[in-house]
């Protein structure tokens, strides 16, 4: 993705322009991040309208609180992704809790498992989108096109060693999607905006 190469300067400028109340900056922000935000929200909530709602909430939050972003802590892109994730997971949990309260089926444990699964899935999407293109290309060959690692090496014009290395490293990155917390306890539990 071209947007991965956005220099930090762009992030800082964007923050200043948003803080200044420049509507054109909001449009540019949307153009850059809307598909990321909507995609992540959709992955967590599996619902088009709910993802639209989260998209609205995320951009409203950034527009109203641009000063919350700290360029020292990393790219704007990851801040926006984190915010999206938090809002989407919170909404999934709220919807599930409300359903439980109405006497719907399932248990609190099942809900937490569902939230964790959805949360990890969204993280994984983000990781795949953000990982270096060579790793993503190798995973794509091996997983989606069902090529073995030797074919993957041939396809990509790399050694078999390198193909094995990329597949392993790609999966290692992906495995961080589960977060370090014990299974079933989402890392962003209780996170408030």
């Amino acid at each position: 993705m071209a947007t991965n190469d956005a220099p930090p300067r762009w992030d800082r400028r964007m923050q200043q322009r948003l803080a200044r109340g420049e509507a054109a900056a909001l449009g540019e922000l949307y153009d850059r991040f809307a598909s990321l935000v909507h995609g992540l929200a959709h992955r967590v909530l599996e619902d088009e309208q709910a993802a639209d709602g989260i998209t609205r909430d995320v951009f409203t939050h950034v527009w109203e609180n641009p000063e919350e972003y700290d360029p020292q802590e990393g790219p704007l892109r990851s801040w926006v992704a984190t915010l999206t994730h938090r809002l989407a997971v919170r909404r999934l949990r709220a919807t599930g809790t409300a359903a439980l309260a109405r006497g719907g089926g399932g248990s609190v444990e099942e809900l937490e498992r569902k939230v964790h699964r959805a949360s990890a899935a969204a993280r994984a999407d983000y990781i795949v989108q953000s990982m270096p293109a060579p790793l993503r290309a190798a995973l794509e060959r091996a997983y989606f096109q069902r090529r073995d690692y030797r074919q993957t090496a041939t396809d990509l014009g790399i050694t078999e060693d390198e193909a094995r290395r990329r597949l392993r490293l790609g999966l290692q990155l992906l495995s961080t999607a589960h977060g370090p917390g014990p299974s079933g306890v989402p890392p962003e539990h209780g996170g408030a905006v």
Binding site: N4, G21, E22, A23, A24, A25, L26, G27, Y30, D31, A34, H38, G39, D52, T55, R56, T60, W63, E64, G74, P75, S78, W79, A81, R123, A124, D125, I127, V128, S130, M131, P132, P134, A142, Y143, F144, D148, T152, G157, D161, E162, R164, R165, R166, L167, R168, L169, L171, Q172, L173, L174, S175, T176, A177, H178, G179, P180, G181, P187, E188
Partner: protein, 471 residues
């Protein structure tokens, strides 16, 4: 590995994150030589991953007949050439099993295979060897489990066709909550929306689509003309013509050569001629940067809607020029969408309405121009010219559908004012059809038009509408 919890991270420095010590490379394949200096894993052994030997086979370099699958983490002794076989019988060791043994690989080799194994991307022998190893090696078993779980997270990227209307809804919702100190002028909003819509289409199309042929069509004088180009050529065209607005605002001109004339067509031809290679997807960035820059610039000079923008042969005030660019962006986006077989709906009704309004306002001047060129009937009231600003003989243009409305077009002079009382003809057509007519994509003879009244006036107005089109 840690750090996934607090925030979503970028992976620009991923190699440092690898607990096993990455090779520090950029992952783009600098390891073709596969030599041990790469450091990710010593790769010596993997050069011959299929060196079949039974457990404790006598070909082990040390000749000691070790466990075979043991955790050989230490450096491999330098002599890689197997020592001459000592006769088993002579060595007094137990005879190896004679059946074809399973593949035996070193720990480091097996570990390097875990990713491929988790993805079911290695050979049957390798799979069996890895699985055999997992039974006896805790760290590898842990990693294998982790990587297998990670595979479960892989997910085909869904094609995300974001509803373009969502952009407008989201932005408006934001601006309601916190009023902008520097708003985008209302007349620039259609351009902002149409460029965003086209950019979303460009985001979706594949590499090859950029070279798909596109036939640009417009109308000149008596009939249609066309010009062949590609999808990328169309974006180059938009870039060079949008730049007319940029120039009026004092921004840079992306056209680095001088065009014969400062008209949209001449500038486009000059740009195409000047590029050493046919335009490719690389033109998207400059085009998008310029369109964002224009929206930003007009926001800061919000009061300058009357600033004249020159098209070479004529001028439009900035507010209309940007509306014209919105219209052209949509029309050419449709050309592109057709070429790459994508659906592309018309603009939002209120934006469409503004575009139609611009066309209707430009009609009297276009009509007068055609009359001067002998392409339209002379005015009926030539003897007693209508004083400027007073009502004149008119045609009622009724546009149906979303974004439609009713316009009275003065027929005899651009200075006259359209009048319901002095209406001599009435035409009715759909808004999108009117726009296609004004874009030269539908001919005046073929446009689906309901008509009533003065036939000559109707014909002249429909041809004048078509003549609004340019490359």
């Amino acid at each position: 590995m840690s750090g996934g919890a607090e925030r979503f991270e970028e992976f620009g420095r991923y190699e440092r994150r690898d607990a096993d010590g990455g090779d520090g490379g950029d992952g783009t394949g600098g390891t073709e030589a596969g030599g041990p200096q790469d450091g990710w894993e010593s790769t010596q052994a993997t050069d011959r991953p299929r060196s079949l030997g039974g457990p404790g086979g006598p070909s082990s370099p040390g000749g000691s007949g070790g466990s075979g699958s043991g955790g050989g983490e230490g450096p491999v002794p330098p002599p890689r050439i197997p020592l001459p076989r000592v006769s088993v019988e002579d060595g007094g060791l137990p005879l190896p099993e004679m059946k074809p043994g399973p593949l035996v690989l070193e720990h480091r080799v097996l570990k390097a295979l875990l990713g491929a194994w988790a993805l079911a991307a290695c050979s049957a022998e390798e799979t069996a060897a890895v699985e055999e190893h997992l039974g006896g090696c805790g760290p590898c078993a842990d990693e294998a489990l982790r990587l297998r779980e990670a595979v479960g997270l892989l997910h085909a990227e869904e094609s995300l066709d974001l509803d373009p209307a969502l952009r407008t809804r989201v932005l408006e919702g934001c601006l309601d909550r916190r009023a902008p100190r520097i708003p985008v002028p209302e007349w620039a909003v259609p351009y902002d929306a149409e460029t965003a819509r086209l950019d979303a289409l460009l985001q979706d199309i594949g590499e090859a689509d950029w070279h798909a042929p596109v036939l640009l069509r417009w109308f000149r004088g008596e009939g249609p003309v066309d010009r062949r180009t590609t999808v990328a050529g169309v974006i180059a065209h938009l870039l060079t013509v949008d730049a007319l607005v940029a120039l009026a605002l004092g921004l840079d001109d992306p056209l680095e050569v001088t065009a014969d004339r400062p008209t949209p067509e001449a500038r486009t031809e000059a740009y195409w001629r000047a590029s050493r290679f046919p335009p490719s997807r690389g033109v998207r960035g400059p085009w998008r940067e310029q369109s964002h820059g224009l929206v930003r610039m007009v926001s800061f000079t919000g009061g300058a809607g009357e600033l004249p923008v020159s098209y070479g042969d004529f001028e439009l005030p900035l507010r209309d020029a940007l509306l014209d660019r919105a219209f052209e962006t949509w029309i050419h986006a449709e050309d592109i969408a057709e070429a790459v077989d994508y659906p592309y709906p018309p603009p939002a009704p209120r934006h469409l309405h503004r575009m139609i309004d611009l066309g209707a306002r430009m009609l009297p001047t276009a009509l007068a121009g055609r009359r001067r060129a002998g392409l339209a009937a002379p005015p009926r009231q030539a003897r007693h010219l209508v004083p400027a600003g007073s009502p004149g003989r008119s045609l009622c243009l009724e546009i149906e559908g979303l974004g439609g409305g009713e316009w009275f077009i003065p027929l005899d002079s651009p200075a006259a004012v359209g009048s319901a009382e002095l209406t001599v003809a009435h035409v009715a057509l759909d808004g999108v059809e009117f726009c296609r007519l004004a874009a030269g994509h539908v001919s005046p003879e073929e446009a689906a038009v309901g008509q009533d009244g003065d036939r000559e006036a109707i014909r002249d107005v429909l041809f004048a509408a078509a003549s609004l089109s340019r490359m």
